[in-house]
Symmetry: C2
Subunit: 338 residues, 2 copies
């Protein structure tokens, strides 16, 4: 359906755009149902980002770029209205760095041209999408080449086609590594509390015909002790200038367990994830979420009296526990200089 997109896409394409219409698979309803949402306006796109229809930093950025095209078609000559749409869109998930980055790129193009041209904006949005696909491919190749034949890997959260525009970051390395015959065993953490592993990564791997086994986080140490894992491979939400990595809660635990077991740790993320303004992980504030996602899993419909949780979204893995950081620009090893 993608006229603007003649290139063949690696993996599953979770974001579809034909120049007029944006379609997103509703990730909240996976894996039980594959429901596609038609997105006709920037406002709808913003809501889809806020409501987690689409998640994953690169996927959010691409969605925002396409949303800017939809807004340009709607606004016609109303440049001020379009700018207001963009300010609104940028608020959809304030912490997502790729969201503001994509909106900024679309705004700069409009300012340069001095008017709204939906066709040139569509070309730019598609090129942002293409850049992500190419970056994914490059990371997949570079990461896969680090892995010895016959290896087992363990991943965390979801970093595949649902989270990016292409084959994925960490999951892209795994897909490439399996196809190259380097990876013989794939394990995925279910990734509490949101279960991105058992809901999304398992679904993506099944769709790609890759055999994988899901584990509860508590089983990761026993799995490593069993000798079935050679690499832990994860994505990153933010990488500090010294190589400290903020990523989904549980990543740091895997890094400590990996080091204890002689398992190596690889982080895969586009170079835009490296934040030169953050000197180290100590400067990264860790967001806490409410307890509901924990007590609801325990079968409760409302908060029980006295129930509290310590429920951070991210953790920080110190650079010294990471054996390789792979971006589309190359493979970095400690001490990290990007």
């Amino acid at each position: 359906m993608n006229e603007y997109f003649s290139e063949s896409v690696d993996g599953f394409q979770a974001i579809r755009f034909d120049g007029q219409r944006l379609q997103l698979i509703d990730q909240r309803r996976l894996p039980a149902e594959e429901v596609w949402l038609d997105v006709g306006s920037a406002e709808q796109a913003g809501r889809a980002i806020t409501d987690l229809v689409v998640r994953g930093a690169p996927a959010i950025g691409i969605t925002a770029a396409y949303a800017a095209v939809l807004a340009a078609r709607q606004r016609g000559d109303d440049l001020a209205g379009w700018r207001a749409d963009m300010r609104q869109l940028e608020q959809a998930r304030p912490t997502a760095v790729n969201l503001s980055w994509a909106v900024r790129r679309m705004c700069e193009a409009v300012e340069q041209l001095g008017r709204l041209d939906p066709e040139s904006l569509a070309e730019l949005a598609v090129s942002i999408h293409r850049e992500d696909i190419a970056a994914n491919r490059r990371m997949a190749t570079l990461g896969s080449e680090l892995i010895e034949s016959g290896s087992g890997v363990l991943t965390h959260c979801n970093t595949g086609s649902l989270a990016t525009g292409g084959i994925g970051t960490a999951l892209g390395v795994i897909v490439a590594g399996v196809r190259d015959g380097r990876i013989a065993r794939v394990f995925a953490d279910e990734t509490r509390p949101w279960l991105q592993g058992s809901r999304l990564t398992a679904w993506e791997l099944a769709r790609a015909d890759i055999e994988a086994r899901v584990i509860v986080e508590g089983a990761a140490a026993a799995l490593m002790a069993s000798g079935q894992v050679d690499w832990v491979i994860t994505g990153a939400d933010r990488i500090a200038a010294n190589g400290d990595v903020a990523n989904k809660i549980g990543t740091y635990a895997l890094a400590v367990l990996a080091r204890h077991h002689g398992v190596r740790m690889m982080v895969v993320a586009p170079s835009t994830t490296v934040d030169a303004d953050t000197a180290s992980g100590a400067a990264i504030e860790i967001e806490q979420r409410e307890a509901g996602e924990i007590w609801r899993a325990a079968g409760l419909e409302q908060a029980p009296t006295g129930f509290a949780a310590w429920n951070p979204v991210f953790d920080v893995t110190p650079a010294e526990l990471i054996d390789a950081i792979v971006t589309e620009q190359g493979v970095f090893e400690p001490p990290y200089r990007f």
Copy 2:
């Protein structure tokens, strides 16, 4: 209601017996509902054990002892019938060492007397229950004394009044430590895949008016890095002669993370848990469970195509990662000699 039980019981009493009637709180329905089941026969007691109405090795043993009394009242002079009931009961959960231990003690008493005497069997069952209460108290005191004032603790699974006859093993130490003013912060792993932590431990602690926070297993490393935890305290399913500990999946991960962060690791279990016939953890076979409890958590009603799991029930923590093993006989430290 417990005529046979004049002694005051520490904590919540999950097993009630008045000489005629056995009552069990249905742990499958906690924390949403507190439902008590009346158990009138050894067959019903066996089913309650099989169906996980009651769980936790000491609690299963006590339930079996009371079930032997119920069977004696029903069988009258039919000693052969009673023996058949006992063989049946012992099958309720074949791997639970306390189950066969309790049944054996009841059988030995009957063989010595040469006939079924419900009153003397009831006295023996109550004394088995009392022994567990006393052992729990002793462990709670010994374990609590190891903890410095102002400490934070993290526990795993459920090891309290629901799993034992008294105040509990690891959770008993925590309750005692909070009451003694030694423990200032309590954290509990939710304990996937069964969620004993968020379902049962959180319920018990709230009932005991102890403030606690539940975490997902993935957050344990970040919690330790934050400096809020000084001791990890868990129970044990089996302790090998060298001090290796088999316990709920996730315990070994906590032990590795604790060592990395300078957090100490305490295992609390009655001396009957020490298995002199098992030289080391390498001899302990780890049971795997089916994938259902993982994909059902992901919101799926039936097994998705290609979904597989690596889902062991237990893991083994090597003795060298454990700083103290507390039984009712004392505090053991490495190298372990029981």
